[in-house]
Every structure is written in structure tokens, then in C-alpha cells.
Symmetry: C2
């Protein structure tokens, strides 16, 4: 199929074309920049929701049930799973994988898992590309599932309109400690597996952390709700969908524009950065010089800062 | 204290100067590049060990006990903790924090926790700086503790000579699924909390994943051992220290040089990349142009690739 056809069909939400286009952008195949330029004007319509939490918190099950709930409400859903332990990524038990199969029969749900290594331009670039394709294809809601520890949570916050942080009782003491930095990216808190002992303690910890964080002081600001779910049975899932909708409404046009400007800036900078390296590698003798500098650093004959300065001069002069 | 004094005293392993120098490099304070250039020739002597595993796997306790074991053997130890949930980072229960206090009385152990957000130049740059300071200061062993999911494990693999991957029985099904990509960075596997049910299953999964990975086919290549520990009681910790030593021996001069060249290359590129952005921001009108481009992308009037191309032209032409 010609690239123009793939783009046209993806924009018409033909599942195979959507899938192919994501691969083209992910793998940076011939013409991917042109394809990106063609779909990009069609983006900006989906509600992009990031869902993150520690391993074992039931993220995938919750994502599965959220997709079902959105379908019940007549909306189409794209899922991007960025989690080496996610059943979407093929890394799970057979039962989980079978559970996901039912969506195969429903073309209102599209599921894509992203490999976590070896992608050119990094994981966040590939994820962002998949989200844009799904958005342009007309999925009403795009759910991004990432395993949430540290950096990945910060990355998802830069992609999503609404960030759902999942916690779970009884995963051990050190997992329950919620740092202010991570709390601040959560627009919604979900305590999943609410039948487990310790649920009150987790809720109290989230509440305390929220009270300590600065945002709770500003009048009229969004107060992140804490919701209880049993993703396995679907209990509480409708309330999560409601709360995501309320958050989007609270953001309003201005709040949404602000979040999307932040994302646009980060993406542009990241791509420009890749282009700079590409430019460097195309200069005659540059990769040999880069190798020589790395060897000098490894041998402690140069420090990384002076080597970097030499590389920089090579590029811009 | 003047910078020269701080450097001189840090190289003599004076605890307060070491701490100060790490902050200077971490926060990129005045003169930090000069300080880096001065300490860098003294690096390359420490055995750098990365320790990573999921939240709740007992990383911090194991790191604590490893430090004690190295001290027993007459070696000095630097610890860099990069984990928002680590007790070293102040994010844990009082009991854990008190447990770490005993090292305060021993100047053969230095503990530093790295914040995980808001650092200029990113987390890995700050971590790398701290590791280099501890190495130059003459700590025999530098332990880097990171919470291990996806990207952070890849990052630690680029920093460390030896990578220890911790697993633990019974953290829930999806956490036990070990993907080949992550397996390949492990030089040692530790199954901690070995008294828990499911220990045989975790070991079998690691063994299977190791057999599936390519490295096991090459003759003479390192076969990652799987060790059982109870970090709480210290059981098995001496064996982990032994195995780390054996791995270093197996690497030999050539293997070590190869790992360190890889690290040098990655660091030099990363610093050069920062410098490029700095260079861009210093050009008259450049940050206004960058902002204008981001706004166009957010408004879907430009796509991120063409905006990045415009930014790139601004820099190199």
C-alpha cells in the first residue's frame, strides 16, 4: 500500500492502516515525516489519559475495564501500553492475554504495545507518535498505560491531558511512600484492589501528601479525587471515567491549551536534538572524532565536559 | 571554602568536601566544569556496582548489608541512591531511616541520595557526577541503587561495571515476568526474601529467561549466577559480594575497558547535547523563536518535525 493510502485509511480509522502507520512512525521508515505532517493537523481532538502505577497495582486490568466503560458510553478508545510487564506487551500470563482478546472483535478499541528498548529516538518519542496517530484516526479517548516509577511518570505527565495515579494496599511498606514530586502530576488517584487490608492507610497517605502539596492552597484549583476500585470486577470503574471527564471540563480550553503547549515544546526540542546528532554524524570525519573523544574520556585523558565542548565546536563551527 | 580546597579535600576523602563537591556538580554551580576536570583523572579505580529491582524487593536493605560486608573486608563504600522510594532519599519509614544512621559513624561509608526531579541535565548526569566524585575520592566500591523498571535499568547498565538485578517472590504475577531485554543487562541475579513462597518459581523463570537469551550460547561468556538472600538477616550477602568480585575478574581489563568506553561515549554525547541547547538559547531571538514554534505545534499549524527542522536550522546556520 502506498503511504498516501495508509495515511488516508488511518484517518478513516481502518484498523490495519492505523497499525501500519504507527509502525512507520515508530520505526522511522521512509516517508514517516511526511506522514506525520499529514496526520498532525487532525490531532488534538482525543482526550489523552495517562494511567500509571507500580507493578502489581492492576493497571492493565483497570485499562481494560476503562476501555469497556468508554465503549458502553459510545466512545472509541485507543490504548498505548508502555510497560514491559503489561499483558498488552505480551509479557504476561496466558489468562491475561486471553482476557484482552475480546477487544479484537470490537473495532472501537485499538490496542498497541510499545517495546521499551531499542527504539530510535527513545520511548517517549515512539509513544507520542502512537498517541498522535490514534488521535488523528479519531479515537475519542487515548489511554496510555505506563509502569510508574520516577522518570516514566514525569514523561507521561508531559503527554497526557489527565493523569491517573494508581495505588494499591499491601504492596510492602516502601512502595506506599508517595513523594510530593510524583503526587503533583496526579489529576486523579485510584486505590485499586480495595478489598485488600491497608486500604484506609493508603488513602490517608495520599490525602496527607495532597494536603502537603502546594496546589491544594490555590483557590479554584482542581482537587484530585481519590477513588476506590476493584478493577477485576469493574467496581468503581464508571466513577473513574466520570472523574476523568470532570477533570477535562475543569481544565477548560485554557488549561488544556497550556498542557498541550508544554507537550509541543518538549516534543519539538526532543526531535531537534535528534536532528542535531544526525547532522553531526553526517559531517565528514565527525564520527571518528566522536569515537576518539570517547576513548580519551574512557582513558581519563580528557574529562567528559571538555570532550563534549570539542564535539560541540565540531557541529556549530 | 575555595573550590580548589574542596577538590583537594574531596580527593583526600574528607566527607564534608565529598558531599559539597557532589552538590556543586549536581547543581552545576560556578566552576563545576573545572572541578570535574580536576577530579576526573583520579576516577576509574572504583568497582561500580548497579543494584536494581522492583519496588518492595528490599533493594535498600540489601545495599545496606552489602556496604557492611564490604566494610568487614576492609573496603570503603560509596552509595548513590536513585530511588524516590528509597530510605536513603528520605522517603521511608522512620525505622528504615534509623537503620541507615549507623553508617554516619563510619567514614568508610558515604551515602548520597539523588532527587529524581528538577535536576539540570537530567538524573543520569547527576548520578554519573556523584559516582565520579566518589570514585575520585577513593571509595573502593560504589553502589548505585535504582528502582528498576524499564528505562532506569538501561541507564544503570550504562553506568555500572557490574549490574545486580533483584527479584523477589510473591510480588504479584505481572512483576515476575522478566523480559529478555532487561535480563540481558543483569550480571548477577539475586532473589531476595527467599523465605517467601514462590521462590522456586522465580528462580525457574530467571533460569528460563537466561537460557533463552543469546549470551548463554557464546562459549567462555559470563553465566550470571542466581543467588538467594535474606537481606534482613544478612543471609547470602557475602555470596553476593563474592560474585560481584568474580564478575569483575571475569570482565578483565578488556571487558572493563569496553564497558567504560560505552559509558564515556554516552556521557560525552549527553553533555554535548546540553551544550547545544545552551548554545541555542544564547542566540539572539532564539528562545522567542522556539516559543513561537511550540505554539504553532500546539495549535496544529505546524507538526513537530518541521518545527524541529526550523529550530535546527537556527542553530547550525
Amino acid at each position: 500500500m502506498a503511504l498516501e493510502d495508509i495515511v488516508r485509511r488511518a484517518l478513516a480509522r481502518e484498523v490495519r492502516a492505523v497499525s501500519r502507520l504507527i509502525s512507520i512512525i515508530e520505526d522511522r521508515l521512509e516517508g514517516f515525516e511526511r506522514a506525520y505532517a499529514e496526520i498532525y493537523p487532525h490531532t488534538g481532538r482525543a482526550h489523552i489519559i495517562g494511567i500509571t502505577g507500580p507493578p502489581g497495582s492492576g493497571k492493565s486490568t483497570l485499562v481494560d475495564k476503562l476501555a469497556m466503560e468508554y465503549r458502553k458510553r459510545g466512545l472509541t478508545v485507543g490504548v498505548v501500553a508502555v510497560d514491559p510487564t503489561s499483558p498488552f506487551s505480551g509479557g504476561a500470563l496466558l489468562g491475561d492475554r486471553l482476557r484482552m482478546q475480546r477487544h479484537v472483535l470490537d473495532d472501537g478499541v485499538f490496542i498497541r504495545s510499545m517495546g521499551t528498548r531499542g527504539r530510535l529516538g527513545g520511548l517517549s518519542r515512539a509513544t507520542s507518535g502512537a498517541v498522535d496517530v490514534l488521535d488523528a484516526a479519531g479515537y475519542d479517548v487515548v489511554l496510555i498505560e505506563t509502569v510508574g516509577v520516577g522518570q516514566s511518570e514525569v514523561e507521561i505527565a508531559s503527554l497526557a491531558d489527565t493523569v491517573v495515579l494508581i495505588q494499591v494496599p499491601g504492596l510492602g511498606d516502601d512502595i506506599q511512600v508517595i513523594k510530593a514530586g510524583i503526587m503533583e502530576i496526579g489529576d486523579l488517584f485510584v486505590v485499586n484492589k480495595k478489598d485488600r487490608p491497608g486500604v484506609e492507610r493508603v488513602m490517608a497517605e495520599i490525602r496527607t501528601a495532597l494536603e502537603l502539596s502546594e496546589m491544594s492552597c490555590v483557590e479554584g484549583s482542581w482537587v484530585p479525587p481519590i477513588l476506590l476500585t476493584m478493577a477485576e470486577t469493574g467496581e468503581g470503574v464508571a466513577e473513574v471515567v466520570d472523574a476523568c471527564g470532570e477533570h477535562l471540563k475543569h481544565l477548560g480550553e485554557e488549561g488544556l491549551a497550556e498542557r498541550r503547549l508544554r507537550r509541543a515544546r518538549a516534543e519539538t526540542m526532543e526531535i531537534a536534538s535528534q536532528r542535531i546528532w544526525q547532522g553531526l554524524s553526517e559531517r565528514p570525519g565527525a564520527s571518528e572524532e566522536a569515537q576518539r573523544l570517547a576513548e580519551a574520556v574512557a582513558a581519563r585523558k580528557a574529562d567528559p565536559y571538555s570532550a563534549a565542548a570539542a564535539l560541540y565546536r565540531l557541529l556549530v563551527q
